[in-house]
Amino acid sequence: MAGEMHSKTAGAGETVLEVKNLFVNFGAQEVLGGISFEIKEGETLAVIGPNGAGKTVLFRALMGLIPFDGRIKWREGIKIGYAPQKLFENSELPLTVREFFVLKSKNLFFKDRRLCDSMYHELHSVGLGPEILERQLSNLSRGQFQRALIAWAILNHPNILLFDEPTAGIDLAGEDTIYNLLYKLKKERGMTIIIISHDLNVIYRYADKVLCLNKNQLCFGEPQKSLTGEQIARLYGESAFHHHDNNHIHH
């Protein structure tokens, strides 16, 4: 049974997304259960949890890519940009960065000038130079790749950005600047951001709200109040405990 997807009209600073009692099942197996939270315009929500906790599943449900039960209510007319962890694994396609952007064009065949112009603009705003356009997507460093994905996601000025941070691989300096970049997008464009994060420091520094997941919802609220030491132990301790029977959800 598919859940309902509602939209409602609201003014600035109001609720952008409201999730109530969200359940996602893969076959007989429950991968997300009883998730409820909301996010207001301009806020940054961090989603944390161990591997296989259903974080990316939550994103996919929010975008309506998979069936769910419960309610997901986006504000009417909202535009969502999505920066996934990775693309199709070991792709055989020798795609250049420029071509990757062009794939987003609504023109199926002819040149899209507007897209080309905003492509340069967004690359600049994520800190990448135009020389990267001719490089192959598969040859970029992890950091460059993440930036390219963010630039792709914000190409048509979405109101909300869903950023699925990769589990590992970005060096600290790179990670720092990715967060600065997201913070800049929030400040300059008033963008609402939902980020899957693995770094607790980042959450305390940048997130207005935090959602702790381990298939079920363990906490939701301001990081300083909700994300207590006890909560963290519960969240990640359980993951170690479940290590043998956990069902890795690969995305």
Binding site: G27, R60, M63, G64, L65, I80, G81, Y82, P84, L87, F88, S91, E92, L93, P94, L95, T96, E99, F100, V102, L103, K104, S105, L108, F109, Q136, W152, H251
Partner: protein
């Protein structure tokens, strides 16, 4: 040079156009990592050919109908069920091959699998050239959406680009291109004509554009060369085309940057 007659040019030109359509589609077959699925898919043509021969219609239509049904089945399995598509397809389509062997009369079996069964007439050649050109143009038109759907299905869905619909459309074009090649090089080898140019082009392509271009050029070269060899030495065209394709594939490794 006595082989350079009217019949030879009919085969050469219909072959080149069929190769253009197949090799262009082949790039996406490779990217989607369904090279073997595509190969096994071509077996489904055989019972279609057998039935068409039984009721005395053009074998192209029999093959096309069976292939179209098979790709819709493949698509449904892949998008609607959790079944592993390669196992289901491997079992089901190989059964189709067995059925085809029983249905197609002995003397025509070899040729329907390896080509040169039906002497290509002028009308056939025109049909193949026009159909191949249409398949090529349609593939060109959907290539952006198709590439995005394969590389990043979630991103494609997130911008409402309907990846499943484009994937189905691509499979239908793929089925038609296999049916088109049956008279020329046979059902068994058509899968190879689709895949060989693309895997060779992949070895030195540095972008999507060059990948598509090189694959189409290589498809035309290997088919042209294969048909010339088959004409000169009186080989069946199918094996000659595939062996010339293998030669190009080996040469492509020289250009491969590791």
């Amino acid at each position: 040079m006595e082989f350079l007659n009217h019949q030879f040019y009919l085969i050469l030109f219909s072959g080149i156009f069929t190769a253009l359509a197949a090799s262009f589609l082949g790039t996406f077959v490779i990217v989607k990592r369904m090279a073997l699925v595509g190969d096994v898919l071509s077996h489904v043509a055989l019972p279609g050919i057998g039935l068409a021969l039984l009721i005395h219609i053009d074998p192209f239509y029999g093959a096309a109908v069976f292939l179209l049904i098979a790709v819709v089945g493949t698509w449904l399995i892949e998008t609607r069920t959790a079944l592993p598509p390669d196992a289901v397809i491997g079992a089901f389509f190989t059964a189709a091959l067995a059925l085809g062997v029983l249905l197609v009369p002995d003397q025509e079996l070899f040729e329907s699998m390896f080509g040169n069964l039906f002497a290509i007439k002028f009308g056939d050649a025109v049909f193949m050239i026009v159909a191949a050109a249409i398949i090529f143009i349609l593939t060109l038109i959907i290539s952006r959406r198709l590439a995005l759907s394969i590389v990043a299905p979630d991103l494609a869905k997130s911008i409402d680009a309907k990846p499943n619909a484009f994937y189905l459309f691509f499979l239908l074009l793929f089925a038609l291109s296999i049916a088109l090649g049956i008279k020329l090089i046979g059902s068994l080898l058509m899968g190879a004509l689709t895949i060989l140019p693309a895997v060779s082009a992949r070895n030195f392509a540095r972008s999507l554009k060059s990948f598509l271009t090189f694959s189409a050029i290589l498809g035309i070269l290997m088919t042209g060369l294969g048909i010339i060899i088959s004409g000169a030495f009186r080989f069946p065209p199918g094996p000659a085309v595939i062996l010339s394709g293998i030669a190009f594939f080996i040469i492509s490794f020289i250009f491969k940057r590791v």
